[in-house]
């Protein structure tokens, strides 16, 4: 049975053994060592450096910096643009992550079939992910262009009023979300496919004999078997969508009326366009904190469900 205990090799219980334990399995840490080294040097250290930057007023080009404590953070708290960016980011995450999980899973389930037909459809849904964000947004700008974009042409043909999603505060971010889903739904689909491949076939056979309907098979066999991947996709997508940037910047440049500017764009603009590096670093740290909370909360929720 695919049980999920880790190999319980030496897990001794007598006191003497416990002392040994401290020595023996260190070697297993070698597996994670390469990653940990890279991780510390290329993630932890820069992150700490970023944290340090966020406490300064820095002008990198001039080479000057003043320590100003948490001033940057206080400023952020009062900055309406930053607050708007935060709101937009959360809204975007809430809009997209469930869609990625549900649509990705649905596609994976339907397309988890051998043969050319399934392969072609999978390739198609993956196909859009190979495009760079510039192209994706350009194409969708053309789709949603007023006057003679694809959407306009269609609505003209149907004698509907022209619909310009990017022009309205209420619809702009959802439109960006739609584009994002179109762009990269192939990725969660692939993660789910890989998970589905690990489910032993015999479980489906047993379920089929047990008269399970499709739905029951899905909820009682498939879902419990890939629950870990559901959690994975949800966490990963949340992490990715928290960092939404390119689409929003290129489609709407944060507008209309600051309704689509996400945090990363804020960070980018303040850092690279406005040369407020400390301020930008502080915003990045805030985003980090938010994502950490989001991810931990999500992981925790999903984990509870897994246990239940």
């Amino acid at each position: 049975m695919a049980s999920d205990r880790s190999l319980a090799m030496p897990l001794p219980t007598t006191r003497e053994d416990r002392r040994r334990k401290l020595r023996a399995p260190w070697s297993n840490a070698l597996f994670v060592l390469p990653f940990v080294i890279v991780y510390v040097l290329l993630l932890i250290v820069p992150l700490a450096f970023g944290w340090w930057l966020s406490l300064q007023r820095v002008d990198l080009l001039a080479g000057t910096s003043d320590f100003i404590g948490i001033r940057n953070y206080l400023d952020l708290a009062l900055d309406p643009i930053f607050r708007g960016a935060m709101r937009n980011t959360f809204y975007f995450v809430i809009l997209t992550v469930p869609v990625f999980v549900l649509l990705g899973l649905a596609l994976a389930l339907v397309l988890n079939r051998p043969g050319r037909f399934g392969a072609a459809l999978r390739a198609l849904f993956f196909g859009s992910s190979v495009l760079s964000v510039t192209i994706v947004t350009l194409v969708w700008k053309l789709v949603m262009m007023p006057g003679n974009g694809l959407l306009a042409d269609v609505s003209h043909a149907l004698h509907w009023p022209e619909f310009l999603p990017l022009m309205h505060e209420a619809t702009a971010l959802p439109a960006v979300a739609v584009v994002t889903v179109w762009w990269i739904v192939g990725l969660p689909m692939m993660l789910f496919l890989a998970a589905l491949q690990q489910i032993p076939q015999e479980l489906y056979e047993a379920a089929a004999l047990d008269n399970a309907t499709r739905w029951r098979t899905f909820t009682k066999i498939t879902l419990p078997s890939i629950w870990r991947t559901v959690a994975l996709v949800a966490v990963i997508e949340a992490v990715l969508q928290f960092q939404v940037f390119g689409q929003a910047q290129l489609l709407t440049d944060g507008g209309p009326n600051n309704s689509t500017r996400p945090l990363v764009q804020f960070i980018y603009e303040t850092g690279f366009r406005q040369w407020s590096f400390g301020y930008s670093a502080a915003a990045a740290q805030v985003l980090f904190a938010l994502m950490l909370i989001g991810v931990v909360a999500q992981a925790w929720l999903l984990r509870k469900k897994e246990k239940a």
Partner: protein, 287 residues
């Protein structure tokens, strides 16, 4: 037992059923929605830029031209950029697969003191936004004078915990019994990992490979600030640099051709790996 009896999968056997048809129908309809912009990109790439300045909604009627593609191919540096991109993306993919799989195995299947804490700390890295690192990393690499090297292009992404998380989750689903058998077969821990667990997680490996390759290939900000010499540009940066200042309105066809050109290698890679993604090579473990 039924590797060949794929048709006999419950869902296969039910293929005739209405529900299945409906579902498939829905997916095909969705696929049509999905493909429309893609076809559009393709069509636009074969149209003259001047024409596209005025019309972007005419797909299948002339004029057509190959000019956009020849423009790309005649850009003298394109070959070098392509090679750079390949080196960086393949290097990053291979290294990530190695590092992430090793760590994933370590976390999923071995015990060592402090494992849980290390794992949690590593996972917290997921929440670090890329933007928080660009400036510090740039600074560090500048101090070390490493910019404009392949190392600088490859290294930073290796620290991504994404692959580790992914591999850990997938490794957990590999049956323990098989690993036990390998341990008894005198395989070292590493060998168990290499010869048994890795092959059994091929779909996950393929997925991670495609993911890593894709993000490396399309990466923009880091190569932009790290590789300032045109001969070190990746394809993404290189192609973008050839755009005129108003390419988004004046060079649409050229942009689309670039997209196709740059996307093709990933797509080919995907097609190559796709057989592992739904293959049942690893299939169901026999117990």
């Amino acid at each position: 037992m039924s590797t060949l009896a794929f048709e006999s999968r419950p869902r296969g056997a039910l293929a005739g059923r209405l529900g299945d048809r409906l579902m498939l129908g829905a997916v095909v309809a969705l696929a049509l929605l999905w493909i429309t912009p893609l076809v559009w990109v393709l069509c636009l790439s074969f149209k003259p830029n001047a024409f596209l300045e005025q019309h972007t909604d005419v797909l299948f009627s002339p004029p057509f031209t190959l000019q956009n593609y020849t423009n790309i191919l005649q850009t003298s540096a394109v070959g070098g950029w392509l090679v750079n991109s390949l080196i960086v993306s393949i290097g990053q993919t291979l290294l990530t697969l190695m590092i992430a799989s090793l760590a994933g195995y370590g976390f999923a299947r071995t015990e060592f003191p402090g494992k849980r804490y290390v794992y949690v700390i590593c996972l917290c890295g997921l929440a670090v936004p890329e933007q928080a690192l660009v400036i510090p990393l740039h600074h560090i690499f500048a101090t070390l004078d490493w910019h404009n090297t392949y190392g600088a292009l490859i290294l930073p992404r290796l620290a991504s915990p994404f692959g580790v998380y992914l591999m850990t989750q997938y490794f957990k689903a590999v049956p323990v019994e098989i690993e036990e058998a390998a341990l008894l077969d005198n395989a070292s821990r590493f060998k168990v990992f290499w010869r048994v667990v890795l092959p059994l997680s091929l779909p996950a490996q393929a997925t991670l490979a495609i993911f890593t390759f894709l993000s490396a290939w399309n990466d923009y900000l880091w190569p932009l600030v790290s590789a300032s010499k045109p001969e070190m540009y990746t394809l993404t940066i290189g192609l973008a640099s050839t755009q005129g200042n108003f390419a988004q309105s004046e060079g649409i066809g050229y942009l689309m051709a670039q997209a196709i050109f740059a996307g093709l290698p990933i797509f080919v890679l995907y097609l190559f790996f796709q057989k592992y993604i739904v293959a049942a090579v690893a299939g169901t473990a026999v117990r």
